[in-house]
Symmetry: C2
Subunit: 356 residues, 2 copies
Amino acid sequence: MSSSTITIVKNANKKPKPQSKEIAFGRTFTDHMFVMDYEADKGWHEPRIVPYEPLTLDPAAMIFHYGQTVFEGMKAYRTEDDRILLFRPDQNIKRLNKSSERLSIPQVDEERVMEYLIELIRLEQDWVPDFEGTSLYIRPFIIGTEPSLAVAPSKTYKLMVILSPVGPYFKGGLKPVQINVEKQFTRAVKGGTGMAKTAGNYSSAYQAQAKAYEEGLADVLWLDGIEKRYIEEVGSMNIFFKIDGEVVTPALSGSILKGITRMSIIELLHKWDIPVTERKVSIDEIYQAYQDGKLEEVFGTGTAAVISPVGQLNWSGEKMDINNGEIGELSQKLYDTITGIQRGSVEDTENWTIEV
Amino acid sequence: MSSSTITIVKNANKKPKPQSKEIAFGRTFTDHMFVMDYEADKGWHEPRIVPYEPLTLDPAAMIFHYGQTVFEGMKAYRTEDDRILLFRPDQNIKRLNKSSERLSIPQVDEERVMEYLIELIRLEQDWVPDFEGTSLYIRPFIIGTEPSLAVAPSKTYKLMVILSPVGPYFKGGLKPVQINVEKQFTRAVKGGTGMAKTAGNYSSAYQAQAKAYEEGLADVLWLDGIEKRYIEEVGSMNIFFKIDGEVVTPALSGSILKGITRMSIIELLHKWDIPVTERKVSIDEIYQAYQDGKLEEVFGTGTAAVISPVGQLNWSGEKMDINNGEIGELSQKLYDTITGIQRGSVEDTENWTIEV
Ligand SMILES: Cc1ncc(COP(=O)(O)O)c(C=O)c1O
Ligand SMILES: Cc1ncc(COP(=O)(O)O)c(C=O)c1O
């Protein structure tokens, strides 16, 4: 048997599936998961689908000590006519390899991983919920597993994919959120790991998140780590501003994630002939536009919420109310278009979706 | 039974202990480990010493996804007269809590953890090797274990302590190393996690490490993430420069680790009336001192090597040879004093050691 042929061990004990759209994010997992191992002399090998079960690792496994790990996040959607669609999964697998490069993790064969992914989702298709706004969240991740305390890349790795049915991000449709512009803490800096989807980037944000929550705000808008002036991204989302009819979003500086929703929005705006620019955007510029009455819309973009309209930005006490705290026209149109494509109700002219 | 009383489950299958000082770093582990759990309503509970064994965790455990983890590194030394000494372990436990604060991990009771640590080392005392230059490396670490993909602090944690006998850092005594001053990659930045001993800081350095190795150099000297001008630290060591009779070391900027060896050296130098200053040190200043013939000694400091003399600094092609690539007088004296205190052959006037 070739080491790239997938083996499947079925789970005899099926768990009950969610019975409504009230599903807490990332707490319920399906009956199976995908696993594949890496060793220097074998490469990636033994791809397999097995029952979802605990992982057994040596306490010295490198993941516990030096954080050599990357992950991805995407979704499978059920259409009205009961097909299952993935949204640009090739981009997620590509980004997984990009992240791995930064973390000195060996590359995967992108086409093979795509096949494994589809095989897993096909097996778990009954887990893709059909309530409004729900989907099946897909979490591929790679961890360094060698039991060694040497500060060096692991010689062995595990790639795993787990699946979790999730409810709608905003209960009852889109809802503008209030966001704190963070001045004290830094998420990432040029030359660091900000452009990689790696664990350390996320836990390092918890203190700033907690500060925002205490002030009743939903999330954090990060500024660049060097001048604390240029806008980077929001928690787990990229960010867009509509100023005086034009759309701007921070350029890929090396310290922000290259969001797949971001990329798709830029492509859509081009298609719609709406001016959109990727460039440096300072918080001062945004404040000025706000004062001049030209800050028309602000929205975060990411797999979780697709579009998250921002109703207020809090910048060291200055509260900028955006579009009277209402959803902007462009935000709504982008949301409707992308979710429509994802759910098969809007024509996918760009070939973004893949049917499972 | 109080939830803070330690329970001990002995390992019936003892592993063979190293038979020479040739012990690879961090690959051999002792027969037992310490474990303690945290839950919001119980606090830290169930402290226990159990056989060293694999950890079983849900694949959704937060440690695998968002890197919420901190660790420590210290050593137990065997003295000539067969006592076992720890070097300032209170400082390590204090620093563990400091790191935890940054990572939104609940604090531990420092005195209790000290007791547990001593209990574990006492049980494993035969594992403290007695060959020259060897010691028992102690690795406490805390991981977020809640199975949830929400980007938020874990509700449950595990604190574990594993032990590993280690050989001498430099075979055959101190040896000067060559170090690359890194210009492209960044380790940490103000407002980030550089002052915390947390996993993500280490794997993010692998690419720069690999570059240094390719050029035949042993390690990386990091510059600040903002101006790429001020010296921070070396891999897993702080750094000191002796310039024209005075000792300088980068101040604790918020982006470097507060090394316990660093702290001890500063205290010793004060005691010896050797001028020592903690301040900003730019790479330009070092290069100038080198050109003026005033760069007398450079050394890294850390638990692993205690003192690691630097024989050459490579700064974008400029190679600065230090002290003809030989060990400096001060470096040697500091090394002899600290290792002497650690091994009980030099009087411990500062009460730095604790007998197990
Ligand atoms: C830090 C960060 N930025 C942006 C995004 C948005 O990326 P995408 O649109 O690919 O989901 C995410 C989520 O994946 C993220 O974690
Ligand atoms: C990044 C870093 N800097 C400095 C040090 C030196 O600290 P210490 O002297 O406490 O071992 C270490 C090792 O612990 C480290 O990991």
